[in-house]
């Protein structure tokens, strides 16, 4: 091919090529019933012709006999193109059913039915799809599975490795479970809880010339708590959203280190107040970092493509609910104890010192990749 014809090929093809046709898809239906799976796979005849050369007389037309006569090879090709395993053990593919066809929007498809047998009742089903991996990597298998009342769809990429379809072991990541994950994450996230408590500790006190004293009026106390909690919420929601939608993706070691640093600084600020008024600004700044931490947890759950916004909302609402629960338990207690010497002279400095020390160790561990504390 000379330079010019290649030049022209590229330019003339540019605006239309990808839009002129539908790409290659196969339609896979899997119905699970106990330990057996009924499969129906619709594969385009033109894709089969490319791999198997069905058009024996080479006239560009496929006669029915050219398909029927090669059915055993179609059976083998499609059987090699899919592996199913249940709970880690491979299922066995039965022979293909009788030859049949179906019309789809891009032409005729061969309909390959077969029954798979698995070792026991299927709890988790993995599909390893490899059809046409070596001849058309842009091919996709569109699978619809059902297991009693449950079901779902997925787009299978050839040679992308096993993909979990049915999963009765772990609950599906629906709205409710994402909400619970959000609550769970803040309640077990010691660093987030400590950050919040450290900020709330002095909220029930006022600073007087000799030292801390219990607040007299509840309104300013509540106002400050609302300010701090709101600042934290808004800030971490912003960065959580940015990270989940892939706008920014800071390295997790930096994020985790900065979260530890934020706890240290908040605790030190209780002992040696640098920021006294408008602590919400400090909270907002560090809240941004905590949001990236939440995003890491949310991403680890594996989100459904296309439902990102809903998943994000459910998870974040869970985080806020967990946070409010902490405030709701802590604030009345702190209010009741605010005038005691123990709270002012003991709890506030002791807790702040311990939190600062603990967070300093986290910071060292996370920033320097050390292991100083026994792992939880």
């Amino acid at each position: 091919m000379n330079a010019r014809s290649l030049l022209l090929a590229v330019l003339l093809g540019l605006p239309v090529v990808a839009s002129a046709h539908k790409a290659s898809d196969a339609y896979l239906t899997l119905a699970v019933d106990g330990s057996t799976i009924t499969q129906r796979l619709d594969v385009a005849l033109r894709d089969l012709d490319r791999d198997l050369v069905l058009d024996a007389d080479n006239d560009g037309l496929l006669q029915w006999r050219e398909v029927v006569g090669r059915w055993s090879e179609i059976d083998r090709l499609t059987a090699d193109g899919l592996a199913l395993s249940a709970d880690g053990a491979p299922c066995t593919a039965g022979p293909a059913g009788p030859p049949a066809l179906e019309t789809h929007s891009d032409g005729r498809h061969a309909v390959v039915t077969r029954t798979w047998r698995c070792a026991g009742a299927v709890r988790q089903l993995d599909a390893d799809y490899r059809l046409f991996a070596r001849t058309d990597p842009t091919h996709r298998g569109i699978v619809r599975w059902s297991d009693g009342p449950r079901g779902g769809t997925a787009v299978l990429v050839p040679d992308a490795g096993p993909r979990v379809l049915v999963d009765a072991v772990t609950p599906p990541a629906g709205w409710g479970s994402l909400f619970r994950e959000g609550v769970h994450h803040i309640l077990i996230g010691t660093d987030h809880v400590l950050f919040l408590l450290t900020l709330l500790l002095p909220a029930v006190l006022v600073r007087t010339p000799p030292g801390w004293a219990g607040a007299r009026a509840w309104r300013p106390v509540l106002a400050e708590v609302v300010q701090v909690v709101t600042a934290f919420t808004v800030a971490h929601s912003v960065t959580l959203g940015l990270a989940v939608f892939g706008v920014v993706d800071p390295p997790s070691r930096w994020v985790e280190s900065l979260i530890a640093a934020s706890v240290v600084l908040a605790a030190v600020n209780n002992l040696v107040p640098v920021v006294r008024h408008g602590r919400w600004k400090l909270t907002f700044l560090f809240g941004l970092v905590h949001g990236f931490g939440f995003a890491g947890a949310l991403k680890a759950l594996g989100l459904a493509d296309g439902l990102l916004a809903q998943s994000l909302l459910a998870f974040n609402l869970g985080v806020e609910a967990g946070q409010l629960a902490i405030v709701a338990v802590f604030l009345p207690l702190a209010w009741a104890l605010r005038d005691t010497v123990v709270y002012r002279r003991g709890l506030l400095p002791a807790a702040s010192v311990s939190i600062a020390l603990l967070a300093a160790v986290w910071l060292a561990e996370r920033a320097l990749d050390l292991s100083l504390l026994p792992s939880a």
């Binding site: 030049l7 093809g13 605006p15 898809d25 080479n58 560009g60």
Partner: protein, 391 residues
């Protein structure tokens, strides 16, 4: 939306009953290969066999990939691009593949509308590759930059192509540089000198392929500047072996001139290419052709199937389908907006302006008008479309 498509698929798959033909001689599928000569089919199969036997032989892989890309260009079939990718599989994911592979990878990716990925490869090639591949890369890069609306960079890239470095490759490269320079200048409104230069180029070249390309650029220029003879230009560019792009462009010109009846004979028998089927559907709807409903249904099925695989390369076509076939401007709007975010050809601008006007949301076309202000796009159709004067 997605849930609806999945539901449609679920229902379709559940109710569709497979059938078994009764006659062994019944033709059950017409393969795309029927459009080429038996000799070419044999050649294609021989090449596939050689590749299957030795998948890591670079020369064989390159030959197979080039042949597949060439078929994709003629048929517009994305499966051919998949075959090109398959041929290059041993090198496809390398960060630093041989430059011949890199060039073909970029070609496949830009054809799949993965413009950023294509540009990454083209930038490398434009900086450092054997001369002929570099020329090809610079020209492709110019085209991608132009399509994505990065005109200043496209102009710089086009200037590179006309530079002395490529002189040893002969007049084909310097002529290509003249074509891209004239086209970019005309997009910014310098129509007359560009038209004159292109006319001179068309007369001067004896190469039929180059002449048809120049004539296509001249046709589009004429259409943008409101020349009533643009249709004659398109017919000249068609020649006797019409290609998809020019056919679609001529059909669009006829539709814009309210001559749908002329589109029917032009595209008869070309239903296999979705781009042409779309124009045919518009023409059939406007002429109240009895086949309009069936064509609309077939197109809708293909868009639904593409949505199922989360394919987003069809936004331009889908917006036109919603607007011009189904007459649903509100459904067309998100597709036209998303398309404009990726592609910025005059046709994309016109589409968004038309859709926004028809949907009663002219502000949705604000990005187009900002582009017109900033880049200086000159196209008489835009103002007319905003005022609802054209369809």
């Amino acid at each position: 939306m997605k849930a609806l498509w999945l539901l449609a698929f679920a229902c379709g798959a559940a109710t569709a009953a497979p059938f078994v033909p009764t006659d062994a001689d019944e033709v059950v599928e017409r393969l795309p290969s029927r459009l080429v000569s038996p000799a070419e089919r044999d050649q294609q199969r021989a090449l596939q066999q050689r590749r299957a036997a030795a998948p890591t032989q670079l020369p064989v892989a390159l030959q197979a990939a080039r042949a597949a890309i060439d078929r994709a260009r003629r048929s517009g079939d994305p499966r051919e691009l998949g075959e090109a990718q398959a041929a290059l599989a041993p090198w496809w994911s390398l960060t630093d593949p041989p430059s011949a592979v890199r060039l073909l990878r970029a070609t496949v990716r830009q054809s799949q509308h993965q413009f950023d990925a294509a540009l990454r490869d083209l930038d490398v090639l434009a900086a450092n590759a054997p001369l002929e591949q570099r020329a090809q890369a610079v020209l492709t890069r110019t085209a991608v930059l132009q399509v994505t609306g990065r005109w200043a960079e496209a102009e710089a890239s086009c200037r590179d192509l006309g530079g002395a470095a490529f002189a040893p490759l002969g007049p084909a490269v310097s002529m290509s540089a003249r074509v891209c320079r004239a086209e970019l200048a005309s997009l910014r409104g310098a129509t007359a000198p560009a038209a004159a230069d292109l006319a001179a180029l068309s007369r001067a070249t004896r190469d039929d392929g180059l002449r048809r390309w120049v004539d296509l650029v001249r046709s589009e220029l004429a259409e943008r500047s409101g020349d009533p003879h643009a249709g004659d230009r398109y017919r000249e560019a068609l020649g006797d072996t019409p290609d998809l792009y020019t056919l679609a462009a001529l059909a669009d010109w006829l539709l814009a001139r309210d001559r749908p009846a002329d589109v029917l004979p032009l595209l008869a028998g070309r239903e296999d290419a979705d781009a042409l089927l779309l124009r045919l559907a518009i023409a059939r709807v406007r002429t109240r052709d009895p086949a309009a409903a069936a064509t609309t249904r077939l197109l809708a099925d293909r868009f639904d199937a593409a949505a199922l695989r989360e394919d987003t390369a069809h936004r331009r076509e889908q917006a036109r389908f919603e607007l011009d076939v189904r007459g649903d401007a509100r459904a067309a709007l998100p597709h036209a907006v998303a398309n404009w975010a990726v592609q910025k050809e005059p046709a994309d601008a016109l589409l968004l302006v038309r859709v926004a006007a028809a949907a009663g949301e002219p502000r949705a076309a604000a990005p187009v008008w900002a582009f017109v202000r900033e880049q200086g796009l000159a196209d008489v159709r835009l103002g007319a479309a905003r005022d609802g004067a054209t369809r």
